[in-house]
Symmetry: C2
Subunit: 160 residues, 2 copies
């Protein structure tokens, strides 16, 4: 298995799915903490220049979440439910409140690569190819890459 140091973002040709993968110099438990501890999560999620404010956070199976990303006066709300929070896997719903009809089903896997490294794999499933492709064209790649770069620095600094 070769190392994935930049985020790989792929659209499935046959399913309305986006897949992402990236390796981190962290254990699965550290990555799980970075995704479930609200204070840690707010520090790295999203593109540079936006500040994340957690409005609601209950990171357990059956819980739910909401946060607002702000840049000056502009605010963008996101919310969803945690279907499953278990060692190695998080399954959650995801709605960007600017498009309240849209709901994605997201799955995150934390694959132990040994030697303190973990591969984060993420899958986002929606109910149309048009919606999936519009999301890919929206600039989500920048947010994902800048967010994971922040997480990488936090890991290197011992903050996770």
């Amino acid at each position: 298995m070769h190392k994935i140091t930049e985020t790989v973002i792929e659209a499935d040709p046959k399913l309305p799915v986006i897949r992402m993968a990236r390796d981190f110099a962290a254990t699965p438990e550290q990555l799980m903490r970075a995704h479930t501890d609200p204070e840690l999560f707010a520090k790295w999620v999203g593109p540079d220049g936006l500040t994340t404010r957690i409005e609601h956070w209950d990171a357990r199976s059956g819980g739910s979440w909401r946060y607002v990303a702000a840049q000056g006066d502009a605010e963008f709300g996101f919310h969803g439910s945690f279907h499953e929070v278990a060692p190695g896997r998080i399954v959650q719903t995801f709605t960007f409140e600017g498009e309240p009809e849209g709901v994605a089903l997201e799955t995150l896997w934390f694959d132990d690569l040994g030697d303190g490294r973990t591969r984060l794999r993420a899958q986002s499933l929606v109910d149309s190819f048009e919606g999936r492709d519009a999301w890919l064209r929206s600039g989500m790649e920048t947010g994902v890459n800048e967010g994971y770069a922040k997480l990488e620095r936090m890991i290197a600094d011992g903050a996770v």
Copy 2:
């Protein structure tokens, strides 16, 4: 729009989706109640011969649910999260605990047809065509049809 008196169950040819539709002699509010009130829901969901026991039920956006369907000593558990419970639409996750890795994203719409009639439309989205087709072959059609027939009788009896 013609009447849909039997349940229409369709597999989308291009998306890993099952769609269902059926008309009921009830208002959208009555159908919403039949899907959100745990005592009502337990009385109609699932095939004849199984008894539904609600284990957890919090039918609001961000809530979650779990129930067990029992026939003699055989028990089948199901659980999920309510992503959205709003007038006209419910969005929820769904896992059959016999296949704990599988998660469907379900959307229900209650379309007012006027004259006290409502079209229930339901969509179930999964992340593979194989999983979708196995679910279709599992006999879910019987459970859906027998369940909706029970709901129809409850509506006729004034129980909803």
